[in-house]
Amino acid sequence: MTTRRDFLATGAVAATGLVIGFHWPARRASGAARDFAPMPGSASIRRAPVTVLVARSEMGQGVRTALPMLVAEELQVDWKDVHFEQAIPAPAYGDMSTGGSRSIVTSWEPLRKAGAQAREMLIAAAAATWGVGPRELPGGGGHHCSPAERPSSRLRRDRRAGRFAPVPDDPPLRAPADWRLIGTRPPRLDVPAKVDGSAVLRRRRARARDALRCRRALSRVRRQRGELRSGARPRHPGVTRVERIASGIAVVARTRGRPGRGGTLCRFAGTRG
């Protein structure tokens, strides 16, 4: 799983180009423009390969495939270049609850629009680099390059510097007659990892290097005694940080066992991953 911070940092280092954020409406899409206003960081795609951070839970229903399909359809990239990463819960994602067959309904326009925005920006950047009209560039396959040449150093430099045109407010969405992915059943993106054992499911995630963030309302007694103050220097081996959060206390530790040991001070309602 990837945090937004990790994702943005990796994207910057890799200089892969474009990161698009968008606002995932917390409730059913209302069609109001503010629901779709770009909000950098609330979810992101990165091109070539395209990585879609999926802010919904995969329970076998295929959401880790269906949501990237919406982006890929508009971005016009090959399915083999599309990847997903599970988004780590963050306030910017809004309501990440998954259920009631709402994932597609609530993502249908935001994700397609994000894909279309990225597509239009890449086309505009390439067209400006080569001094041609945007519609003169060949589309499809996600490669908006002049057939005879590779992206120029200027384009690469522009990508590194993030010098893209402003995010278009209302990019054209592909018509249903043009859809190549939507309505098909491409190979599910999450299947290979579930078959070769590399998928990390919730109860398996106990690697030493993983800091597990556990939350729980602070024990009233301990709170009164001030033993877990926000920012307190952890006294328990492996516990790296203790912070007060809105719903209680967050204990960050290097192993699953350590918060439990620190947990003589508190119990934990959930663990990350």
Partner: protein, 155 residues
């Protein structure tokens, strides 16, 4: 506490553990197989299935002492050898849904095919009846086993 030697996926591990510790505990199998699920811990669901000397075995109810001197293969060991026909069939048939039980299902299927190269539906049902899938992927599992057996999808 005692020291035991376990061979997991071809690697030797020396463990100093309570001999009664079950292998789904903090053992070599855990460190060498993050992909192996530990679910019920009582030998009821089959999610933790590994091969012990080639036989499908519930690792959660197998003590470290009992596993000593055996060859333990986990889902990673199956893949490490360049992929297994069962895994290829699993992908071709797009079997997994949530995926939690799938490592156990695949290990059980591989063990079945090792002793019964062309199993019937009844033999598949019998061999995998102890591997539960709450997503209900049983039809896909059957198709994948037939495919891995060389009989195409479904039979």
């Amino acid at each position: 506490m005692a020291t035991y030697k376990l061979n997991v996926n071809g690697r030797e591990h020396a463990l100093e553990v309570d001999p009664r510790r079950r292998s789904c505990g903090r053992s070599a199998i855990t460190s060498d197989s993050p992909g192996r699920s530990t679910a019920c811990g009582q030998g009821l669901c089959g999610s933790c299935t590994v091969h012990v000397n080639g036989e499908a075995t519930r690792s959660c109810v197998t003590t470290v002492a009992a596993a000593q001197g055996t060859r333990v293969t986990t889902i990673e060991g199956l893949a490490r050898a360049g992929g297994h026909p069962v895994q290829a069939a699993w992908i071709a048939e797009q079997v997994p849904q949530c995926g939690y039980c799938q490592s156990g299902q695949i290990m059980a299927a591989a063990a079945l095919l090792a002793r019964t190269p062309r199993p019937t539906d009844a033999e598949i049902d019998r061999a995998l009846s102890g591997n539960l899938c709450r997503c209900g992927t049983y039809q896909g599992i059957r198709r994948a086993i037939h495919r891995a057996a060389g009989g195409g999808a479904g039979r």
